[in-house]
């Protein structure tokens, strides 16, 4: 068991490192750097930046050192908790990101909870009553859910809300709470606004999980231990729920781990369409402006978020599956 934890932890650390390198590379791919786009935007508004000013700016922002040094500096700063300045905004990155990361976590979790709550019972039903009318119905709806990209669903939802109800269903807060400090009332307001983004985000994942649950359960239902359970005189309901479902839950739970990157990913686009105050819109703006600290930090933070989530789900899996606990993966 310990070996398992250590292994997963090591992997998590490695993944975070890989993500940091990738984020850094991404930021440095475009030709030119922040100063170049700064100069461009300045000249577009009519003012010019001299060579000397540009050079001084570069030195100030540390943009004149070799790449590897810049990377080290960046990593060093971040490990101290200093995420740098968002150059475009002129404020510390942490300020700018602020609530948004937490809100990203909140809707991602909400989407996952929704996914689970729906996929589990539907998957079980579909497997036990294979080829029934409801099974075909769920399968078809599931397929459609898989086929609609997140942003499209968000668009359609927005459109329906607007065209039929005249309401703007986007956003996570009612106007009076948007900038207000946190309180119970604000939290409650958030909960009221959560269902739509959670559903939009979760639909594709739900469809996928239903299929996985159904096929895993179908595999387990054929196995001899189900027959012996029945032969012991257990009522059919307990036979199914206590044994094959319990066993089929294991791959289900391990799939949750990989649902997280997918959901976090999807939340970016969905936030853009639904105008949610999460990390998504911020990232897009940062990338377009080539704001290195901001964009890189966001990508890195998102990556770390998902790695932590995956690690937690690995722990959950270990708790649930005795085969792993006792060292026989």
């Amino acid at each position: 068991m310990l070996a398992y934890i250590v292994r997963r932890l090591l992997l998590a650390v490695l993944t975070v490192w890989a993500i940091s390198v990738l984020s850094f590379i991404i930021i440095h791919l475009p030709p030119g750097d922040y100063v170049t786009s700064y100069i461009a935007s300045m000249s577009a508004s009519g003012s010019a930046v001299s060579e000397g000013e540009a050079k001084a700016l570069r030195e100030q922002l540390g943009l004149d050192k070799p790449i590897t040094i810049q990377y080290m500096k960046w990593m060093g700063l971040m490990l101290q908790g200093n995420f740098g300045m968002a150059m475009e905004w002129g404020r510390p990155v942490t300020d700018v990101i602020g609530d948004r990361l937490t809100l990203t976590v909140v809707i991602s979790l909400a989407a996952i909870v929704f996914t689970w709550a729906l996929a589990l019972p539907i998957g079980i039903y579909s497997a036990v009553y294979r080829y029934s009318f409801l099974d075909y119905l769920f399968t078809f709806v599931g397929f459609v859910g898989l086929a609609i990209p997140g942003f499209l669903l968000a668009l359609i939802v927005m459109y329906v809300g607007f065209a039929w109800f005249g309401a703007n269903v986007g956003g996570l807060f009612s106007p009076e709470f948007a900038e207000a400090p946190w309180s119970f009332a604000k939290a409650w307001d958030l909960t009221k606004h959560l269902p739509i983004p959670a559903i939009v985000l979760g639909v594709a994942g739900t469809a996928q999980l239903i299929r996985i649950m159904r096929s895993n359960l179908l595999d387990e239902l054929r196995k001899p231990y189900v027959v012996t359970a029945r032969a012991r005189g257990l009522p059919e309901y307990r036979v199914i729920m206590k044994y094959p479902v319990r066993v089929a839950l294991n791959p289900f739970i391990s799939t949750i781990g990989y649902l997280l990157p997918y959901v976090v990913s999807g939340s970016i686009i969905v936030s853009l369409v639904l105008s949610l105050p999460t990390v998504g819109p911020l990232l897009l703006k940062a990338l377009i402006a080539q704001d290195m600290f901001l964009a890189g930090t966001i990508v890195l933070l998102l990556g770390v978020l998902t790695v932590v989530g995956t690690f937690l789900s690995d722990l959950l899996l270990m708790w649930v599956d005795p085969r792993i606990r006792l060292g026989r993966e």
Binding site: A147, L152, S265, I269, G303
Partner: protein, 375 residues
């Protein structure tokens, strides 16, 4: 051995047919039973036909824009004129809306523009080689660009139907190129990992796990935003393909690796080794045919994800950019909700996406069910 009374003829014949059918015939027979998969396949064939015949099916240059013609609603085709089969649309008359003072186009019922099928229109090169000028829809006695708007126009006055035809071509083919790349990467890396095992396997496995843990959209956004703005449409197209396949290969690699690992233990592989076959021969002649059907299934199922990715990226403005035309680019116009409510036809390309993805999923599921001998 006494001569035995033979069991019924039909039964024996059926058994013999099954016994001598090739793997592919068996798969085809099973695939045929899946109504949904067949439907999906037909739909996809239709989509690819559109991709090939885009110029023929469109009737206007998709880039031709006219600000005055922006956001015209789709016209309905009237099929009979005084009892004869003579399809036509009403001409359009520009008027000024008294409230908004914006120029608005309303159908002019005094003007009937007849539509001819397979009529002559703009010149084009079919498949880049054969000069033709026949189109599916053409109009007589009028300029087609001013009269026919089967799906309305977008904010820049470009005809949506024609644009949709070209968009289909781009979106359907970008998936193929991307999946081909993923296939190569996946098969090679997955194969090496599965066949040789050991340290190589562990390393490749860890790489796959790391890649799977990274949220893809931020990564793609970053990579796509990093592409120089002055790259040509084609260059961007290929760059996007490569970017998408860089993560997409992991799924295929997992499938391939899994197959190799389970096949390695099979007795027939050991038999081949004992007979003295070279490793290459064992891999390509003996092992690969066993799982090639699974690869096909996995590949088919990977394409819809790629289509969705490209559409999403382009929708954000980070993927293909104008003047390239893809479903995602078309849907960019739909970002503005207010505009969308007034011009809901801007959402029509989304049906293309959904149907294409559904079709691929159905077909892929059908192939996978047909290929799996244990169902």
């Amino acid at each position: 051995m006494a001569e035995l009374a033979a069991p019924p003829e039909a039964g024996i014949q059926a058994e013999q047919r099954i016994a001598v059918a090739t793997q592919w015939q068996l798969m085809w027979w099973r695939f045929r039973k899946h109504k949904l998969a067949l439907a999906g396949t037909l739909v996809l064939i239709g989509f690819y036909l559109v991709a090939v015949f885009a110029e023929f099916l469109a009737y206007v240059d998709p880039q031709e824009s006219d600000a005055q013609r922006s956001l015209i609603a789709p016209q309905s085709i009237h099929w009979s004129d005084d009892g004869r089969f003579a399809p036509y649309v009403y001409g359009l008359k520009g008027t000024r809306d008294p409230v908004t003072f914006k120029r608005v186009y309303v159908p002019d019922t005094s003007k009937k523009v007849p539509i001819t099928f397979f009529g002559r229109g703009e010149h084009y090169q079919f498949l880049g080689l054969i000069p033709m000028d026949r189109h599916l829809f053409a109009v007589e006695d009028a300029k087609v660009a001013e009269s026919l708007f089967l799906m309305g126009t977008d904010t820049q006055g470009r005809d949506l139907w024609s644009r949709l035809m070209y968009a289909t071509r781009t979106s359907m083919t970008i998936g193929l190129v991307s999946v081909a790349l993923s296939l190569v990467l996946g098969v090679v890396l997955g194969g090496i990992s599965g066949y040789f095992g050991g340290v190589i396997d562990t390393i490749i496995q860890r790489i796959i796990e790391i890649l799977r843990s990274i949220p893809t959209i931020p990564l793609w956004m970053g990579l796509a935003a990093a592409l120089p703005g002055d790259w040509s449409v084609v260059q961007v197209y290929f760059a996007i393909t490569i970017i998408i396949s860089l993560i997409g290969w992991t799924e295929l690699a997992r499938v391939v690796r899994g197959r190799f690992i389970s096949l390695k233990e099979e007795d027939f592989v050991m038999a081949a080794e004992l007979v003295g076959c070279s490793k290459a021969r064992i891999i390509f002649r003996h092992m690969v045919p066993s799982f090639i059907s699974h690869i096909i299934a996995a590949t088919t199922l990977a394409i819809p994800a790629i289509i969705i990715s490209e559409t999403s990226l382009s929708f954000l403005g980070l993927g293909l950019r104008p003047p390239a035309i893809s479903w995602g680019v078309l849907l960019q116009d739909a970002q503005n909700i207010q505009a969308l409510v007034i011009s809901p036809w801007l959402l029509i390309p989304s049906f293309a996406v959904i149907v294409a993805v559904l079709a691929f999923n159905f077909m892929g599921d059908g192939i996978r069910d047909a290929a799996d001998p244990y169902l």
